[in-house]
């Protein structure tokens, strides 16, 4: 009480403190009652990785790119006899696809590199276990999570066009016009006054797909 510097009316701080607590009391609490009420997760939440087994070709890209080697894949080859073909074709069949979520650091590289969209992020996060060994999930468990994969979010109209779109536009513009086409794609044809709409966005795309 002796070491107060310059201060206004004595007791002002006390009253202000009382006002703050009283105001807080009348406001709604921000607590979310999680187990009773589902949390509202942001889009693209990284909860767990789901596997769409049919899309997997056992290319091993995910397992090799994984920074902490938490993906374990086993497979065997099967002969597929195609009627009318000269010889039987070979096909990879997935035997084991395990992800050890005690090692996974949720970087999402496996999902990025998968060329066939076999791996997906899902916002599901309630898979805690009492034993760390139980965090090794096999392909059946990973497949069950496919049900919880949300539809992909709508494309951001102001964002850069996807790699596929840009490539297609460049090819359509023909060789030599690559940079011009690229610049054209980045800034849609719509004038700056009007916000670009999906139709304007699609306009630079060629009518026929090159492949």
């Amino acid at each position: 009480m002796t070491d107060d510097g310059e201060r206004g009316t004595p007791g002002k701080g006390l009253v202000q403190g009382l006002a703050v607590t009283l105001k807080t009391m009348t406001k709604r609490s921000t607590t979310r009652q999680y187990p009773d009420v589902e949390p509202e997760l942001p889009p693209r939440s990284r909860g767990v990785i789901a596997l769409l087994e049919e899309n997997c070709t056992v290319c091993m890209l995910c397992a090799r790119e994984c920074p902490d080697w938490c993906i374990y894949i086993d497979s065997h080859k099967e002969e597929v006899v195609v009627p009318g073909a000269a010889r039987a074709r070979q096909r990879n069949v997935l035997d084991k696809f395990d992800i050890d979520f005690s090692l996974c650091m949720y970087c999402g590289i496996c999902i990025e590199v998968c060329p066939f969209d076999a791996l997906h992020w899902t916002p599901e996060f309630e898979y805690a276990e009492t034993d760390v060994l139980d965090l090794l999930h096999d392909k059946n468990r990973l497949g069950e999570w496919m049900r919880t994969v949300p539809p992909p979010p709508a494309h951001d109209v102001l964002g850069e066009p996807s790699k596929e779109e840009a490539t297609a536009a460049r090819k359509a513009a023909g060789p030599g016009a690559a940079t011009a086409a690229k610049a054209d794609v980045r800034r849609p044809t719509a004038p700056p006054a009007g916000r670009p709409n999906p139709a304007a966005q699609a306009e630079p795309e060629p009518p026929e797909q090159p492949q």
Binding site: L18, T24, M25
Partner: protein, 320 residues
Amino acid sequence: MMPLWLDLLIRIVAVVVGFLTLPLIVGQAEHKVMAHMQGRLGPMYAGGYHGWAQLVADGVKFVQKEDITPKDADRGVFRLAPIVALFPYLLVLLAVPLGPGNLVAQPLDVGLFFVLAVLGVGVLAVLMSAWASANKYSLLGGLRGAAQLLGYELPLVLAAASVAMAAGTLSLPGIVEAWKPWWLLWQAPAAIIFFVAGLAEIRRPPFDMPIADSELVFGYMTEYTGLRFAFFLLAEYVGIIVIAALTTVLFLGGWHGPAADHLGWLWTLLKIFALSFVIIWFRVTFPRLREDQLQRLCWLILVPLALAQLVLTAAVKIAT
């Protein structure tokens, strides 16, 4: 007329029921009010609806816990201390009038004197538990508590003396009887001094230096477990009721209010709960006073103010 023993029985049972339920209501209110003041929800599960049964659940939990007495403790004193902390408050409630027309368990002519004397026993419980625990934290807390309680006893008594002088009686119902609304202004300093000193007497934040959980673990309650610890907690909540009730009776006009003849008890209870809310509010808002600040507030502010109030009361009393 009903026989004396039945009359006595009803009064005592009523006080005991109030003694057991009012603190629970205040405790639950503290949980919820404190939570919402801090932007939380507080207990939500016990009992189903917004955790109304949290304190009942706490009680059940405390009963189940092991009752530990430290090896070096002074066993008898250690075990007696929680009772000594709790029992005086029960006696105080006996003398607090709830409404007009003898609606008090025991109308004493020296009610105020009795109440203040019995409240002073609280120091004893603190010292007993602190010394008997054979724990340095307990001892430090107990000594702080003793210094604080002895110090704040003085403004408490002086403020009460002022209102007793104004009313010309020591009887609690008598004081409420004599109370006039303009006393709110006349006795305002005494009311504030009494309330603040009362907060210090029951060792509530911001006067919880003897407990000071961040530095003394839990002060004189450090070694207590189970039911005995629950007694100390209950004593704290009863203490809130007692201080709120005494402030109500002495300074806020007790049962005075619209339709006081029929609803007097309701007015008393409402005022008690309003003051209990203020006590909880203070706890949430203000940080703990340092030991030197605590003593400075008592001796350099409250005691001189109380003496000045006493002079003012005497002057007005002689003038009218």
